[in-house]
Each structure stands twice: as C-alpha cells, then as structure tokens.
Symmetry: C2
Subunit: 173 residues, 2 copies
C-alpha cells in the first residue's frame, strides 16, 4: 500500500537542524518518481472538485507539492514567503518561535474575497507557521478550506494550535 511505502521512505536525520532534533527528511520520497506521483495523487483525490480557487504554498518545501496539486485540481498557486522575498506589496504576520520570531508575507492581491484557499506545507510541527498562514489567508478575505501536510508530528501538538481549522496529513509520526 502506497502510504506505507511513502512512510518507510521518509528518512530520519538526527541532530538537524539542531542537536537533539530527529528531522524527517521527505526528499527520498520526492526523488522516487512513482512515490512522488502517489503522494500528489493523494492530495489530488481529496481536493479535486471541491471548489478550491487557490493553493497557498508555504515557503519553501510546500512549493514542491503545491504546484503539482494546483495544476491537477485547476487551482491557482500563491506563495506564502518569509519577509523580504516577495517583490510586490505584501501583508505580513509575525509569530513566535522557540527563540525569537518569524514573519510571513503574502502579496496583497493574491486572493479575491471569498475564494476557497487550501494551505499546503510538507510537515506540521508546532503549528506556528500554519496558524500564521491561515491568518494571512483570512486577512486577504480568503476562506481556509483546509490545511494539508504530507506529515504531521503528533507529539508536537500543532493540531491543538489550529482548532477551528480542518487539517489533513496522510502520515502521522
């Protein structure tokens, strides 16, 4: 079954990005043409014919999935990027990290009022990035259809930070 195969192919990298963290490296899944297609197909099956106008892709690993899903479900692709990366006028949302803060931005014209927007990233960890992303979409008048991830790290309890939003992650560690 393909989700099992995808799960087995995710690689554990100890001590990245800092000592004590066991990083889940999804790149071996994407490098395998068959598994990458099966991964994308999971999302396409779930989101086709759901009236999703845009996929908001979270910088940078979310970009790897969102383009493939967007073209197959007939949605536009809009990026959520770290501050300073988007060239046009932006709105921004700052949130707390374990040490310090981070700021995410979107172009002010990325969403038409009322559009259904799917937010995509590779992995749900503590949920800070995901929540800030949802707030950005809503500030622009979008309706968050769901937040989709390939992987959820359950022990980091990101889901608790995202109550009120629908979440999807086919693989949970």
């Amino acid at each position: 079954m393909s989700i099992e195969q995808i799960t087995k192919t995710i690689r554990d990298v100890p001590d990245f990005p800092i000592a004590g963290v066991l990083f889940k490296d999804i790149m071996p899944v994407l490098a395998d043409a068959k598994l990458f297609k099966e991964t994308i197909d999971l999302f396409v099956a779930r989101y086709k014919d759901q009236g999703i106008a845009k996929i908001a892709a979270v910088d940078a690993r979310g970009f790897l999935f969102a383009g493939a899903v967007a073209t197959q479900i007939g949605a536009g692709l809009i990026p959520i990027r770290k501050k300073g990366k988007l060239p046009y006028k932006t709105i921004e949302e700052t949130y707390s990290l374990e040490y310090g803060t981070a700021t995410l931005t979107m172009h002010v014209d990325a969403i038409q009022k009322g559009e259904k927007v799917l937010i995509m990233d590779d992995l749900l960890a503590t949920g800070g990035t995901a929540l800030a992303s949802a707030h950005l979409v809503e500030k622009l008048g979008g309706q968050v259809a769901e937040l989709a991830f390939l992987v959820e790290l359950d022990f980091l309890k990101g889901r608790e930070k995202l109550t009120g939003y629908s979440l999807y992650a086919p693989i949970v560690f």
Copy 2:
C-alpha cells in the same frame, strides 16, 4: 496565444530587490489557474518521453514549477538548495555574486550515475546559479539534459556563461 498572455501577466516591480532593478514578478501567472496550467503544459510537452529521470529544482521559485512537471513526465524531484537547508549529507558548489558568494548544495544520493536530469528555475539572469546547479548535477554523475526557465533576461547574458548546455526559456525579455 497563451505565451503572449503569460508574458503580459508577468508584473514589473521597480527597485526590487535593490534600487535600480526592474524585477519580473511571475506570481500573477501562477495565481491564474488557467495560465499556470498552460505554463506547466509548455514544459510537459517539451520533456515528456525524453527519458528524464529527475528534475533538479532550484530553491525556491524553481520548486513551484518542478513538482508539477515532474509528476506529469514521470520524473523524480530533487532539490538544489542554499547551504544549510538540506538535512542529509550534501555536496556543495560556491559561486560568485556581484557582491560576495553563494553556496548551493544537493544531497549526495539525489542522482544515480548516468541519469538524465532536467534543471528547472523560474528565471535565467546572470547564469551563476544555473551554472553552479549544472556542476552539482554533474558531480553526482548526472547528465544535464537541459536547463529550463520560464523567463530569460537576455540583456544579462546568462546564456554566455552556459555554453555547452542546452537551454530553454519560452519567454525572453
């Protein structure tokens, strides 16, 4: 004709990222579901059935295109990222920028020897990133099938730095 429509939809942003630069913002193309699909279809038509095993996607805007093209031509997706972003063992290539240097990396196991690899980015400017990307692919034993961009900025003469490689960019400014 769709290339004309795509070209018209690319937005000029003056003075980004620094004063005096007229930035070509492709995001309005991607936000338009129909134009984004037409953009991806250009690449799919060119690269399907060409025996391309992997698409090497350049961080970060190249990721937006490469996932969609890879799944449609049956290729794997491998990232070329700025130093410090990839978790597993990497090889790296440092190149000169106008001020200072930049270092790109790839995972050591991203390519099997002899595989045909398509390198994708959104835009060809001076060619430094593209050339470093090609060197990385070759260091891993890959064969660079072509370097593909949505946009080429002809006046920056990136093409001259990439002699010996096949280049494709449907839109030239």
